[in-house]
Symmetry: D2
Subunit: 350 residues, 4 copies
């Protein structure tokens, strides 16, 4: 940590700062410049909080020099993490596409969605059973029964499932139903009790970025999960809120290379929620892969305009299938490949 | 709802839109302009979702005409709500100041804080027992024991207490300990399960605005609470996240008159978290009252620079006392007055 | 400047950084911590650019310690500047209200507007002759003839005038017509050639903050004016662009105390453009004064709904007059007073 | 335009709205719903301004239904525009890379830069002779002499040049020196007098998006240029300002497909300014091409760390050359190709 003293700070106030650093068990280094004196802390500065120094007389500001995250940082763990999900990898040389409808509606819809996902060549399935909705009067998801419908549909094609956990009280049910990957949604990125809870289980976690979270806050949210012992974390960029209202969110592609440089965790992207319109999904998905994303979370619905939620952003089965072909080409142009679909007898001609 | 058709939309696609509106039980009104045809829905449009129309062929966009909130809206409840907290009012002609430390630390600190709050003339006390912290390695609050310390300290001056609930599993303990007002923090504004839970209890709720929430989303979060039956809701503006980094957040004073026009609920302001520095609190608190705020949430600590959290934003007791004098003048200039402190024998000379 | 080296930076790369600092004529101070080595520059670091260091091998980041502005900073000029405009002061103990229509339309409209301004008790007049409009098809202002209409109307009540300069080529006309205060609009805050031009004349400048400018960029824009020799600068906060769409902009009241702490220049506020609606102007104007603003720029039109531009944000004469009474009370509550209107015979009863 | 009346608006106020629309020569259509009455204008609504209606009694809000831009919109000009620059196309099936240093420094630097640009395979050159700098104390560019240095260096490889115009008074010099493409910078996107001036000349314009401009404002800025008669406009996305501070700006890739859907103009991207760091340029450039960008503006400097401006974002010649190979692959994956370099004898072995 560096403490910048105000111009003309007296020796007494500088000594008070030094004393406070020493009291925390760290060493002190003072540098007297022409306009400012700086007091540096030598040791693990994470034990110091800049606010405690900024409230002292004569202090202009105090700042950490090292990053606040450790377990998820690449500096402390230089290799790259590959998260294994029932034999399918997220991270490494593959681009893993996770597809499915926004919300679980009926067994028929889910069966048709699973067929579309598998036929398109994806090998993981998404679907929401608990839905965070802005309005209390909108459809809130099918709940536990939805989890079962999702599992049943996905099982036909042996697809692991990804679904969102909103309430810590339903975590046991998620485990009991065999959810393969737990998604933490954008509105819960700083629901710290929920993060702590999924940090204690042995199921991979997809952690969506908060709508206006900084990269640092997002990595600190992952640090909460990792600190509990669960290191199988996948970061998911899904667009940030800005001044622009022409589309729902602004997909922050810069976050992809940035997080991969700061952290060893894989990064996937949700182009469907980012743009909010089906016609944008292709361009955003290709951009994400070209920028280095390890995977995508794409909304596919057997009949988008009948969807019970986010009807305007889901792809129809044929749109999804042709997007997969484009994605394979872009993945190839960046030296990677789409994860091969499992050997799936259900798709074979009779 | 209005559906704007694309230029040159065919009669068939227009009819399909009409049919969909009628299928939901609403009437239809078509307006043919020079460049666009508009299809309007007649009836309670809240049952329609624009996304379902925007995914139809020939539709350019669809939009609601009425606001999504009802229970919290002033259109449906024209009077103003005054929330009673143990005899102290939030709303109406008083400006209610709620003061206390960021976090509950020790019985001694809390006793001194309660003295400062009461001597300054405030009649409600705040203090955090469960703390949402960006880092898992920082102090996370004293928990249930903290609630008891807060209640003990406040009881000496008969101050009702306000404290933050983060986890739905601790709600029962909040009720058992007699928490007078439950605060929902900025990071949990869209933790819908938590909102539903506090919607079912009979304790007033202070609902902080999310860091990048729109006014509409904030009022819809209040609608979640109200929909459960709890109408004792106080909205709290605490600064929004913008591009500016010179201060922690930008206090959105425009939200004060705007929410009071849209909703019947009282609006208070947290100038301490908004600016993030003690020296800004006075100016922001005065601005909030001048803009019509019904109250303030101010951090006061017996010795700010020793505070365990947010040390740089708490006021010292003497700073708080002199701010209360300025606030009384500003409240007076806007035709209101600071809530009178209760007859408090503990402050009387021996 | 401080250069933070990467973990494990070799002695050679550290020496290269030191050499580069020394080559610029500054001294060097190296601090070796547990996780990072820091290299500090001793001397006037403004001659160094962090980017040149951040592109060197082994450097994690480089940052300035001192602020980039000098002439406008309070550190270098501790007193407060009061800008004199034909005998009326901006800065000091007065709150100066500048009022008038968005755009100059006709001699009749301007005469009625000047009457409203003077009767309300303001002693400076605003009015736009050159209008920055988002669309090329909207009314662009009356031009030079508009300047003359503004001067004529204001002269009847001896009001100095404030009007916006958009194009450097019309500066001579502004001087020839006797414009009393030149306004630089939000879209031109970083039109550096325009800033340089008004820096060379002897007329006060009102410098509006850019819609998404940081405080630092805004003060640097003022530094451009001051560097040319013109130190009669008034900073004007007018709302910033954020994610919120319920109102046009978010008035950043925190900027008022912040700029007054960083700079010796006076700060005024434009509540009319900030909110964009007439009904919000009162609350925002009171908030600005309570937060310490040195003045206000308020839109007043003899008949708002007939205004040629921004019809929904102008106050009618009677609304303006009653707002002035409220403002006087708020100014009083903060220990200041509204600037007294000049002895104005034109307002006297016959 | 649609005018939404308040709940319970009286027949008189509705008639007043109707009368105002008719007075402007448009037809009226009234739709009475359950909660609201809507009044629609039939005809070219662009002549109406919503503000004039929003200030009328009984009106809740008024909004345009059609887009404000015409000349640049795809609705009015369904084909795609290809801008020809001395035989090189921007738009169509090519991806055109424009490369060169941030600022023109010396003849030697420019010659080396031009070699790097041409050897990398790009066929247009950029370089700044007039530099918009946040600080008045930083290097402001070489001016007219810089234009000449740029033209001399580019001529060796027959590369057309792109350079920024900041001041309308230097436009004649740009024409006299034979600048091939005039760039309007992000800070001048709403410098309307400058836009009008370049709208009257016969030189292609690259129009950078303002740092916090909406897509609509950006297209309206292009409309200013087009309204003057110059339709050779290239839109350039360069990152927007958000809350994120880990990188300079957030490249808004969604703007690429969105603007290409709304407008017939080509869209290029500046990945160098967006991220602000050389190591990010590759990922952002690939993402932009994958999302459909028609070209890129890339900073290349013979020796980045010695650059006089933005030293940390320029690529070295070898980095640029290898990026061009990756870009060719990504362009191919999206069915396009990099513009072929001209037959360039200066690059041939002796």
């Amino acid at each position: 940590m560096i403490v910048v003293m105000e111009a003309g700070a007296s020796p007494e106030v500088i000594e008070a700062v030094e004393a406070r650093i020493r009291a925390a068990g760290l060493g002190v280094h003072v540098s007297r410049g022409v306009e400012r004196t700086l007091v540096g802390a030598i040791g693990d500065e994470r034990v110091l909080e800049p606010e405690n120094f900024e409230s002292m007389p004569g202090v202009e500001r105090a700042m950490h020099i090292v990053k606040p995250y450790k377990l998820v940082s690449r500096e402390w763990h230089p290799g790259r993490t590959v998260v294994d999900v029932g034999g399918a990898a997220i991270g490494g040389d593959v681009v893993q596409v996770i597809a499915g409808p926004c919300s679980v509606e009926t067994d028929e819809q889910m069966a048709a969605a699973a067929d579309a996902v598998a036929r398109g060549g994806a090998r993981m399935m998404r679907g929401g059973a608990f839905k965070p909705r802005t309005s209390p009067y909108e459809f809130q998801g099918k709940g536990i029964e939805g989890l079962r419908m999702l599992k049943r549909a996905a099982a036909r094609h042996r697809l692991p499932v990804v679904t969102e956990l909103m309430d810590v009280r339903t975590l046991d049910a998620f485990l009991a139903e065999g959810v393969d990957v737990i998604q933490i949604g954008t509105r819960n990125m700083q629901n710290f009790d929920l993060l702590r809870a999924v940090g204690r289980v042995d199921v991979p976690v997809v952690l969506k970025r908060g709508m206006s979270a900084t990269i640092s806050e997002w990595l600190m949210a992952a640090e909460y999960v990792a600190a509990g012992g669960n290191h199988r974390i996948v970061m998911c960029e899904r667009g940030i809120r800005t001044h622009e209202t022409a589309y729902r969110n602004v997909l922050d592609v810069t976050a992809i290379p940035f997080v991969k440089r700061e952290s060893h965790l894989p990064v996937i992207v949700d182009p469907s929620h980012a743009g909010g319109k089906a016609w944008m999904v292709g361009a955003l998905a290709c951009a994400a892969v070209a920028a280095g994303a390890d995977g995508l979370l794409i909304e596919v619905h057997p009949c988008p305009r009948e969807a019970w939620c986010d009807a305007d952003q889901a792809l129809a089965p044929d749109e999804f299938a042709s997007l997969m072909v484009r994605l394979a080409a872009v993945a190839g142009a960046t030296g990677r490949f789409l994860a091969p679909a499992p050997d799936d007898r259900s798709l074979a001609p009779a």
